[in-house]
Amino acid sequence: MSMVEFSKVSKQFGSHRVLKSIDLAIDPGEVAVVIGPSGSGKSTMLRCINVLERVSEGTLLVDGISVLGTSRDVRRIRLEAGMVFQQFNLFPHLTALQNVMFGPIRARGKSKAEARDIAAALLQKVGLGERMDHYPSQLSGGQQQRVAIARSLAVGPKLMLFDEPTSALDPELRQEVLKVMQTLALEGMTMVVVTHEMGFAKRVGSRLLFMDGGQLVHDGKPADLLSDPPSERFADFLKHID
C-alpha cells in the first residue's frame, strides 16, 4: 500500500485553483523531492497531506486514512505525518528539550520520563546534545531547524514532510540541516521534501517531482530528469535556480 495516494486531487482558494487534478502515489521508503516555481502549488500539495489544507476535490489517502475523514482520522494522519516548516515554528516558551518532549507527552500520552529519553536521544542524533536547555531564541536558524526535525520525529511518524526547510537559512547553515535529512533518508524514512536544493535532490532524492501551475508536470528519477530535462519549461526553471 502506498504511504500517500493522491487521486484527482484539486484544491481551490476562492476561485483560484492551486492544485489541478493531482495523481500521485508515494511508497514507503521513497524520498520524493518536489520542485517548481513559486505559486506552483508544491507547498499546498504538501500541506494537504497532513490536512493543514483541506482538499477541495478528489481523494487523498495517507497511510490508508482519508484526509476527508472525521477529526479523529485527521489527528491519526497527523500523528503519522510529521511536518517541518520553513520558519521552524518552535515553541518559543519551551527549551529545545521541552520542544521535543512536547509531542510525545501531548500527542502520544507518554510519561515525562519516557518523553525525556526520546527527546534527549533525538537531540543527540541531530547533533544538539549540548544545546538541550537552550531556548529557540538562543539557537541559530540551522540549530532551530534541527530541533524542529527532532520535535517532529519524537511523535514517531511514518512519514516526514518538509516545507522548504532550508529556505530561511543562510547558505552556510543549510548543510547541517540537509545532513540530518540525508541521515533520515538513509535510515529508510519516507519523505516528501519541497525544496530548491538541487544538490540534495540529486544526492538523496529517489524521485523528483516538478510542479508548475498547480499540475504535476514531470515525475522521475532525479538523475534522469536533471541530466536530460524533458521540457523547455523545466530546463528554464533549472537555469533560474542555480
Binding site: R75, L79, N89, P92, H93, A107, V155
Partner: protein, 218 residues
Amino acid sequence: MTFDWTAVFDALPELLQGLEVTMLIALAGLAGGVVVGAITGALLTYGGWLAQVPAQLYVALIRGTPITVQVMFIYFALPILIDVRISAASAGILTLIINSGAYNAEIVRGALESVPAGLREAGLAMGLSFRKVLVHVISPIAVRRALPAMGNQLVSVVKDTSIFLVIGVGELTRRGQEIMSGNFRAVEIWTAVAVIYLIVISILAVSLRFVERAARLP
C-alpha cells in the same frame, strides 16, 4: 493654613478599614474580570458567529457606557427589573467583573491574535486537538503578550472601586468623604486618601513588573 497631622492620624484607622473594603472588592473584581475576559476574548477570537455576536455586543455595551451608570443600573434598576436584591458591595464586585471583563476581553483577543499562526499549525501538525494547542501552545505565549496591557487594566480596577461611593459602599474614598464632612479637614483627608491609593497601586505596579520580568522569555 497649617497641615494638621493629628487629623490624618485620627482618620487613619477608619481609612484603613475603607482600604480593606476597597481591596476586597478590587481583588474579587480582578479575579472575576480576568476569567470573564479570558473566556470572552477566546470567543471573540475563535468562536463562530453564534458566540462572537453576543460577545461583541457585551463588549460594545460595557465600553459604550460609564462605569458609574453601570453600577447604578445593577444596584438600583436590576431589583426592579428582575427582583434580585444584592448588597452594595456585591453590586460593586459584579460591576467590576462585568466592566473589567469587557476590557480584558479585547486585550486577550489582541494577545491571542498576535501569536504567529505557524505555532498553531506546528501544534496541530503533531496531531493535537485545537483545544490542546490553545492550552499548551497559544495561551502561554498570549499570556506573556497580554501582561503589560493587563497590568494597566488591573490598576484601573483598583481605582474604579472609588466610584462605588455613589451606592454607599464603605470603601476608601467613601470613608474619606464621611470623615471630611465631620471635621472639614479637606486638605489632610484627601491627601491621606490619595497617598494610600498611591502606595497600594505602586505596590501592585511593582509586583506586576516582577511578574512580567519572571515570565519574560530569553
